[in-house]
């Protein structure tokens, strides 16, 4: 992966900065340029919006056959998470036993190492999720 390709997504991946449509108030993550509800009216009206990081597991899977970048990390959990702002995203669930994960589980974002470019390449960071405290 080119370093610039990673670097330009840092605000969203480090701090969960999405977009909020000024017209209808809907929050989008990953960030979008145009609100699919308001379309033309939303052009230039999509403001940065930081997600709380809190969400609920809507579905999950345990990956046993990982892609090359995740070699040696399997088994690990990937979940479809509904954020409290109403948008959905895909991320790993960590810091718990794999069999504790269930649909409806409350989770919160944490900042972690995601993958690296080989042994001596750049290390890429971003969000993962863990069981919510409260």
């Amino acid at each position: 992966m080119g370093v610039a390709r990673y670097w330009r997504e840092i605000p969203a991946r480090y701090n969960l900065i999405g977009k909020k449509c000024e017209i209808c108030g809907k929050v989008y993550f990953p960030p979008r340029t145009i609100c699919p509800k308001c379309r033309r009216k939303s052009i230039g009206k999509m403001q940065d919006y930081k997600l709380s990081g809190k969400g609920t597991v809507e579905s999950y899977t345990i990956i046993y056959t990982p892609p090359p970048e995740f070699e040696g990390k399997a088994p690990y959990a990937i979940a479809l998470i509904k954020m409290e702002e109403g948008c959905y995203l895909t991320g790993q669930i960590v810091d718990c036993k794999l069999d504790e994960i269930h649909i409806g589980m409350k989770v919160e974002a944490c900042f972690r190492r995601i993958q690296e470019d080989g042994k001596r390449g750049a290390i890429y960071y971003g969000y993962k999720f863990r069981k919510a405290e409260s």
């Binding site: 997504e9 991946r13 990953p30 809507e58 579905s59 999950y60 899977t61 345990i62 990956i63 046993y64 056959t65 990982p66 892609p67 090359p68 970048e69 995740f70 070699e71 990390k73 690990y76 990937i78 979940a79 479809l80 998470i81 959905y88 995203l89 895909t90 991320g91 790993q92 649909i103 995601i114 993958q115 890429y124 971003g126 993962k128």
Partner: protein
């Protein structure tokens, strides 16, 4: 718009074809289709060829030109276009060919699809297939392509009570059908236990819930119905050709137990063809994973949402069922050379409607449907065909 017919079909055997190059696969499928249609090279006005990732599988882009050269049509300088929509590349090539003929722009069009997937080694094929998903917001975080369908499977199981055994039954049925198809990659029967005992790829999906890595090519020749009679009396009319799209990423969809693009395409296709789901005699659907077939038969309206698992268990979609699905063996057993799949589905339905499907023939089939999906549902293409 003119009425369009399929006047010829052809495909290679599907499988790990180490002795055959991409070029040879394209040539073999194309030649078979041209001979089947009874056309000459100079009759051809245009070509569309589906290929998902020729650049990464064999380091070769620009395969429109390659296909033209393979066909020996360079002196005619006809337009030959490569079409890409991940695993729906073949279906979208069919749709482009349909538009070209229906519009009156071209008369005879060759539609092809091909993928040479076994020239790369190890996990590379899996990594290439992951490019059908959202690289920045799904794959980056460790989601694999089977992983996204696993999320669908778990969601469907949780909300509709679909079971692991019902998923396995899709693979068992499709392997049975594949055992009757001489072109299928897997021509052996498997049991529910075989599926459940195979290694887990992405829970709840096991290895035998997944379609394989395959080499293969398929082609179809399209012509306006009125001109078609000049070449053949086995005319299969395209009653509907519809493509619909949705978000690239699975998490941005409006539903997780359905592919909204497929629902949309199916609805428009039934309207265009003037038929109902119950009028369909045979269907080829995109079973890249077992859960995908269960969701497909719901999205196509063969059964209510949530009832796909139960219907499979009860044999509704079996070869002798009310609506036989994936008589070819589907992607699961026939094989899934991604760019070729959409055109291979057309091959099977045309054979069924001509009554040429031999041991897997659905008796009296007159209306057939194909359902081809790209990625986790970012593209869906539905065709409805009828023997006239």
């Amino acid at each position: 718009m003119r009425e369009v017919a399929v006047i010829g079909i052809g495909m290679t055997e599907f499988g790990e074809l180490w002795q055959k190059s991409f070029r040879e696969l394209v040539a073999e499928a194309g030649v078979k289709a041209i001979l089947d249609a009874g056309i000459e090279g100079e009759d051809i006005d245009a070509m569309y060829i589906g290929g998902m990732s020729t650049g990464r599988f064999i380091g070769q882009e620009h395969v429109g030109s390659l296909a033209l050269e393979v066909a020996g049509l360079e002196d005619l300088h006809i337009p030959a276009t490569r079409v890409e929509a991940a695993c729906a590349s073949g279906g979208v090539a069919m749709h482009q060919g349909y538009i070209a003929v229906a519009s009156g722009m071209y008369d005879i069009v060759v539609v092809g699809g091909a993928e040479k997937m076994t020239d790369v080694v190890g996990g590379e094929a899996t990594n290439i297939l992951a490019s059908a998903a959202d690289r920045e917001w799904e794959s980056f975080f460790g989601a694999t392509f089977p992983g996204l369908y696993a999320l669908m499977a778990r969601y469907h199981m949780h909300h509709h009570g679909t079971t692991q055994e019902q998923l396995a039954m899709v693979a068992v049925k499709n392997h049975h059908n594949g055992s009757l198809n001489p072109k299928a990659q897997f021509r052996r029967e498997i049991s529910v236990e075989d599926v459940l005992n195979s290694p887990i790829v992405a829970e709840p999906l096991h290895l035998l819930d997944c379609s394989p890595i395959t080499d293969g090519a398929a082609a179809a020749i399209l012509a306006p119905v009125d001109i078609a009679r000049k070449y053949t009396d086995k005319i299969i009319k395209i009653k509907a050709s519809v493509q619909a799209c949705d978000t690239l990423s699975f998490h941005s969809r409006s539903r997780f137990d359905s592919l909204p693009a497929a629902v949309h395409a199916a609805k428009k296709a039934y309207e265009m063809a003037g038929v109902k789901p119950s009028d369909i005699d045979v269907a080829e659907v995109h079973d890249c994973f077992t859960i995908a077939e269960i969701i497909a038969i719901e999205d196509l309206g063969f059964v209510e949402k949530g009832k796909g698992g139960k219907a499979t268990e009860e044999g509704l979609t079996a070869l002798d069922g009310q609506i036989p699905v994936n008589t070819s063996g589907g992607l699961k057993a026939k094989g899934h050379p991604v760019g070729a799949t959409g055109v291979a589905q057309i091959n099977e339905i045309v054979m069924q409607l001509r009554g040429e499907a031999d041991k897997r023939q659905v008796k009296g089939a007159t209306i057939g449907l194909t359902h081809n999906v790209g990625g986790s549902g970012g593209t869906a293409v539905v065709h409805i065909l009828e023997a006239i």
